[in-house]
Structures are given as structure tokens and as C-alpha cells.
């Protein structure tokens, strides 16, 4: 149990990047604080206050980590001027709405880590970046990139567009899309069965992902095999909705017990 004590962060900090589509970060922070008794702070846009030369350097780095072909292992090329310009505009636009580029997640995490002071990194500190940008990681099993909702580590990354794009929608949705049915009409047909951009349920669902980040800090394992637990590693939208909104309980008995202990030790 002494291990757990050492791993409980003194506080957790929430940063944001881009337009998060109405995500209530304060509400999310309060939820996690209530569950863990660990205080949180909202630190705003991750790029705030970056000096001019740093903006250019970060833009260059971001332009280098685009996954151009999800079927091939990442190969960093030399970004073109228009790509660097795009990233620069994105960094300078605090409510940047445009998404669609798939970034290499591990490198993305490194770029964000380099923006944080050394003191904010390590097991006693928990930093979570909520971004509207999409990132993915290479899967050695099927040799391709997969978009991800979250990437846990130092810092943790959680993506609102990842929540829409990464967990698979119902199979028939893709069949119909392949047959040429318009995306908007399909969305109407399957409304409610997946999380969409600007979805009102986004905050509630991402509370569970923020808790996964915290559990990563506590135990080194963010996930649970119980599909009723908010720590369940969902691969389908249906699973996301169930584990985050309709589960039998919020946390399974094992994780509830850990939370209880965390709470006692944090107070």
C-alpha cells in the first residue's frame, strides 16, 4: 500500500487544446476530485504564452508527425511550408476547430511534454491534456495505425475527436457508408448509438477517461476488464456508451476499493 501512497498525485492539472465542443472541463475536474479527493486546476490553453520562436519550432515538430499512411509504420518526412503554416495557425488559434489530421500519438505526447515544466512531470504530478485533435498509435498485431481516444503517460492525452472516430460505430453503419449513403443521413439513422462531435454526453463519457488517466497514475494500469466499470477499455461505441453511461455501477468493486483508499490517503 505504500506504493499507492507514493503514486497518488498531490493534484491534477487539466490543459486544453483547440475547440473542445462544449466539454465542461470544470465539471469533469470536480467529478474526479470528488471521486479521489485530489484537487485539480484548470490551466487553459496549452500553447498560451509560448514565445514566438517556440511557436515556430512547435509548429515544425507538429507538421513532422502526421501519419500519412495508417497502413505503414511512421516515417517522419520534411514538412512542406503549407503544413508548417497550417500548424502555426492552429497554435495561434486557441479555439481551432479544424480536425482530421492523424498525428503520431507517442510523438504528440513528447511534443506536449516538452512544453511542460520539468516539475509537472513524474508520478507525483498528473497532467491531462484535452485536445480536439486526432492521434493514433501503431498496432503491432495488425500492422496499422489506429486512432485513439486516449494515451496515458506523462502527460496524458485525451481526444474529443478520438472519442468520435476511434471506437467503432455499428457495423451496418460502415456497410451503408460504403454503399454511398451520406454521412449526415446515416448519423440521423443511428443517432444516439455513438458519440458525435459536440455531443452533449461528451463530458459525462470523458469523466471515465480522466479517471483512467488517474488510475494509470495510481496503479500503472488504466483499464479494467469489467465492461460495467468506467475503466473498461472500449473498442466499440456501444461499449463506450455502456461502460460510461449505462453500467451497473461506476466502478467495479475492485476499483471502488482502490478509490476508497486513494480518497482516505489524499484527505
Amino acid at each position: 500500500m505504500s506504493d499507492l501512497t507514493e503514486r497518488i498525485p498531490a493534484s491534477f492539472e487539466l490543459y486544453e487544446e483547440g475547440d473542445l465542443g462544449g466539454l465542461d472541463l470544470k465539471g469533469l475536474g470536480l467529478y474526479c476530485e470528488e471521486k479521489t479527493s485530489i484537487p485539480f486546476s484548470l490551466l487553459g490553453n496549452i500553447y498560451d504564452g509560448l514565445p514566438e520562436e517556440k511557436i515556430e519550432a512547435v509548429a515544425r515538430e507538429l507538421a513532422k508527425i502526421k501519419v500519412r499512411d495508417p497502413g505503414k509504420e511512421f516515417d517522419s518526412g520534411t514538412p512542406l511550408q503549407a503544413e508548417r503554416d497550417y500548424e502555426e495557425r492552429r497554435i495561434r488559434g486557441p479555439r481551432w476547430r479544424i480536425i482530421g489530421i492523424l498525428y503520431e500519438g507517442i510523438f504528440y505526447q513528447k511534443i506536449i511534454r516538452d512544453l511542460l515544466p520539468e516539475s509537472k512531470l513524474g508520478s507525483r504530478n498528473c497532467t491531462i491534456l484535452f485536445t480536439n485533435q486526432l492521434f493514433g498509435t501503431w498496432d503491432q498485431d495488425d500492422l496499422r495505425y489506429h486512432a485513439r481516444v486516449s494515451l496515458y503517460g506523462f502527460p496524458h492525452l485525451i481526444s474529443t475527436s478520438g472519442l468520435v472516430e476511434a471506437p467503432a460505430k455499428p457495423k451496418e453503419f460502415y456497410f451503408k457508408k460504403q454503399m454511398g449513403q451520406s454521412l449526415e443521413l446515416l448519423k440521423e439513422e443511428y443517432r444516439g448509438r455513438f458519440i458525435d462531435h459536440n455531443d452533449k454526453r461528451m463530458t459525462e463519457v470523458l469523466k471515465g477517461y480522466a479517471m483512467q488517466a488517474l488510475f494509470y497514475q495510481f496503479t500503472g494500469d488504466p483499464f479494467c476488464e469489467d465492461r460495467d466499470c468506467r475503466l473498461f477499455n472500449s473498442h466499440w461505441q456501444e461499449e463506450v456508451l455502456h461502460s460510461q453511461l449505462d453500467g451497473r455501477y461506476e466502478f467495479c468493486p475492485r476499483h471502488e476499493a482502490i478509490l476508497k483508499e486513494v480518497k482516505e490517503r489524499s484527505m
Partner: protein, 265 residues
């Protein structure tokens, strides 16, 4: 009995031939040098052409097919309804193309109606066309600035090299637009010379990638503006579904870039 009056005036074959050759030659000679040469007559190329020609820019669109319009005649799965997402319908409105709201933020128009209106709008604005004309290579000037295109008849390209010896010809212009879709033919020629490296469009479908295409539209190499799906190929952006709003808005942005650059010159 009264003799039946002919409907059409009698004109001999030679006069018909003269009219075709003369009309074509006069226009061709005039457009051997233009302000802007647009390679690819799909929706983004037509949109660039229409917007700049309205401002008096001398514009020629080179199209490899007999027909102009590219994929704008049909939507997904060969169904002839085209969709645009908001705010693409503002351009439909501007061009007088009838459309209906499908769901919030999505509008649907009749493909043939939309495409023919866009072509007509480009023609009305003063754009000229060289159809059945294949882009062959770029013309480069000082500092490797793109300053025109080498073209040939499309059918020549379809024949085996061994039985054709039709040399291409060159057209000069202040700006060239690559609106050749995913093929990005003009950029590929620059790539062959080591002047550009296209990334190839990403295989992953992301529903909001239309914005990225518009956002990345612009001058990719001195003298060369890239619009439409060629933008996705240039910068490795994810591919999109059959919604045409990005093609129209990318074309409009390409036109703005050209107009600004012409103003500065």
C-alpha cells in the same frame, strides 16, 4: 404546289470546317499566353476559373476529357445527387443552383443541374476551355517558378508511343492551378524533378477532413496553386466522401490567393 421552305440556310461543308478551324485557332492563339492556366475542369478548377475570370483575369481551363465538370455530375455510388455541407450551399445559392436541405448542415442538389450551372457560370465569367487536352509537363522559368504547361491532345496519349510522334506544345501563364484531383498531375511533374514531394492522400476517412482541404489550399510551389483533392495528395490529408462543398470552397480560396498575388505583382 408551293415548294417547302428549308429550315436551315444552305452552308457548304467547307464553310463549316473554316468556321471551326478559324474559331478554334483564334481562341487558341489568344490563349497561348494567359494570366492563369487551370489544369483540370472539375468543380474546384471551375470555381477558381469563374471567380478570377469575373475579376478580369484571362483564364484557360485544360481538361483531358471531352466533358467538363469532373466528378461533379454524380455523387456517391454513381447516384446523380451531389451533397454539400454548410456553408457550401451559399455557393449553390450564388450560382442559382436549386438545392434542398437533407438534414441540419447538409444540402443536396441535382448533379447535372449543379454541374451544368457551374460550367455555365465559368463560361459566362469569361473562362475559355481546351478540352480533350492532356497536361504533359510544366513550363519552368527562373527560380523554378511554374510559368505554364506543356499539353497535347488526349487521344495521342492513348496510343502506343511507337505509332505516335506528335510532339506537345507549350502554353504560358502567370499562374498555373493544379485541380486534377487525387492524381495531382502537375505536382507529380514537379516531384519527378525533385522540386516537390507529394505525401499522397491518407487512407483514413475522417468526416471533417473537408475543412483541411480548404485550409491547405494555396500556393504549393512558386507559380503553382493547388486546389481541390490535389491538396489532399499534396499534403497527405485524409480522403473524403462525396461531398463537394470543399471542392467549391477550395476553388474559391485558390482564386483569392491568385487575385491577391496578382495585385501584389
Amino acid at each position: 404546289m408551293a415548294e417547302k421552305k428549308q429550315i436551315f440556310k444552305p452552308v457548304s461543308e467547307k464553310e463549316v470546317t473554316r468556321a471551326i478551324v478559324d474559331g478554334f485557332a483564334r481562341q487558341f492563339i489568344e490563349y497561348v499566353e494567359s494570366d492563369c492556366l487551370i489544369i483540370g475542369g472539375g468543380p474546384s478548377g471551375l470555381m477558381v476559373g469563374r471567380d478570377i475570370a469575373l475579376k478580369g483575369v484571362k483564364t484557360l481551363i485544360v481538361e483531358r476529357n471531352n466533358y467538363i465538370g469532373g466528378g461533379f455530375w454524380i455523387g456517391g455510388y454513381l447516384m446523380n445527387k451531389v451533397t454539400v455541407r454548410e456553408p457550401g450551399q451559399e455557393i449553390l445559392e450564388e450560382l442559382g443552383i436549386p438545392y434542398e436541405k437533407a438534414v441540419e448542415g447538409l444540402y443536396v442538389a441535382d448533379g447535372p443541374h449543379a454541374c451544368s450551372k457551374l460550367i455555365a457560370a465559368a463560361c459566362d465569367a469569361g473562362v475559355k476551355f481546351a478540352n480533350m487536352t492532356m497536361f504533359d509537363d510544366v513550363v519552368l522559368r527562373q527560380g523554378n517558378r511554374v510559368s505554364g504547361a506543356v499539353v497535347n491532345w488526349t487521344p495521342v496519349n492513348a496510343l502506343p508511343r511507337e505509332i505516335t510522334c506528335v510532339d506537345p506544345i507549350a502554353l504560358e501563364s502567370k499562374f498555373v492551378v493544379d485541380s486534377t484531383g487525387h492524381d495531382a498531375c502537375v505536382l507529380k511533374k514537379l516531384e519527378e524533378r525533385g522540386l516537390f514531394k507529394t505525401a499522397g492522400y491518407g487512407a483514413m476517412w475522417v468526416e471533417q477532413s473537408e475543412d483541411l482541404v480548404v485550409e491547405h489550399t494555396g500556393e504549393a510551389h512558386p507559380g503553382l496553386i493547388v486546389t481541390g483533392m490535389a491538396v489532399a495528395t499534396a499534403y497527405g490529408l485524409p480522403r473524403m466522401g462525396p461531398t463537394f462543398g470543399a471542392m467549391l470552397l477550395s476553388g474559391r480560396k485558390g482564386a483569392q490567393v491568385i487575385l491577391e498575388k496578382m495585385k501584389k505583382k
